[in-house]
Amino acid sequence: MMKSMRMPGRYLPYLLSLPAMLALIGIMYPFFLGVYYTLTNYTLTRPDQIEFIGLRNYAQIFSDWVFWRALLTTFVYAWAAVALELGLGLAVALMLNHPFRGVQILRSLLIVPMMIPPIVSALMWKVIFLPTRQGVLNYLLGFLGISPIAWLGGSYTALVSLILIDVWIFSPFAILILLAGLQSLPKEPYEAAMVDGASGWFVFRRLTLPMLSPCIVLIILFRLIDSLKVFDVIYATTKGGPAGATTTLHIQSYFEAIRWFKMGHGMVYALVLWIMCYLFSRVLTRLWTRALMR
């Protein structure tokens, strides 16, 4: 029976990957269609008047400061969110990695922020962030003598507030992956280090961190892509305002394509976003394979 189960070794990997590939192949057509649209003046409300206009959309958009501001905002939002989530995630995962009373409950509770659909969380946070004393946050800060802040209404505070919401929702992601990673770490190196009398900091820097690096890179990879593409959180709260302070590439793409029916423009924004994700992922996956080989 065992002999008859052995399949041709060469094709096996492809056979295993094929179903997964097929499930995702539906993305290829929309992607290439999207690229095609960037070269046309396709307007949703005038579907019969599509003209090929070459790179004119790109020229228009790249010379518009709205684009560059959106690019910067996307960048800042994504990296700030990822850095905070990773830092917080690492700290909390390390702390949760010890058996103590109630740790099981805490470990189950920690994912709760992620369990609420991000768009709903954002709405709830909008209520918490209400500008006057009606907002819970301002109300509580009032006890510390701080006067109410218009969190989502001010140009700088809006972006900070959104990053805060993102960190609140997604740090559990980092914590969970890091915790699983910490739990899978082998014991010998630590035993050896204890025998050698190494300090906690040394153990952390030379043992834990390198062995966790695949996990860390993975978290950066996924959170970065998701943060670059973020939509729900911004859409539910500021919709890109005030005066464009929180407009990312995805939000602008939404306005151009769905609100103003300019598919050509909208797809350019989406394509730039896609390319950004692609470039970062290339770098990060390379880092990941290197981290594995340490």
């Binding site: 509770l109 709830m124 915790l179 892509i225 995805h250 896609w274």
Partner: protein, 286 residues
Amino acid sequence: MKDGTGKLRSAVRVVGLGLYFAFAMAPIVWILMMSFKNPGDVIATPPKFIFSPTLDNYKAITVGLESYSSESLRPDFPKYFLNTLIIASATVAVSLVLGTFAAYSLARFSFPMKEDIAFTFLSFRFAPELMVILPLYVIFQKCHLIDSFAGLTLAYQLVTLPFLIWVLRGFFEEIPKEIEQAARVDGCTWWGVFCRISLPLVKPGIAAVVILSFIFAWNNFIFAMILGGERTQPITLGILGFIGYERVLWGQMAAATIICAVPELVLAFVIQKYIIRGLTFGAVKG
């Protein structure tokens, strides 16, 4: 000396975890309170922490209350809940079946174009939803997949599959080759090794990935909205439905949110013990 640092460590741990959980749980507690408030209390200024609780919101969304005039048409909520349960479970099940094999082959075998295929899986996650949603709608329409559970399960693979493959690949890679080779020498086929050795060793990884994929599928909004319909409306759209024309029904929305989180919480509690299991194979690694 060691005791001293041990106590300091404990103290730091308590404070650190306390701070984080206060930060993480506070809004949840606030939403919980909101779900028990009357409409007047919900938007009160200043925010009310002490109020007389009511079960009206929960009743309204499960059974439907006649006390609101145009706002009691919500008894569909249990149906939304069921829809989401079906879709999320199916999505995770399908992703597990498809993705585990793909992850294993990427981790264990070397074959031409391996990294390209791996990266292609990842690239499916980059696509900004808006870029793909309109053509995807047309495709789905032609295949009669709009408003179908199968269609949504398929669409959700975009959200869960790349993630599952990459994370599991990482965990598979961590398994020392010697263990598997030892089993092969004993006469097991790749399938045997896979099922009886590799899979059990990545249980924490699978557990983490199952709970996270379930959450991603459960919380998804845009695919459900565009590619779904009246038959498959999931809970995310149901919750947003509380933004009525006249006013936002915060109380009911909060109640719906709490109910929405329950299956995820249950799954997390059940699964977390797989994540934390101490693994004895660590003794073999060196």
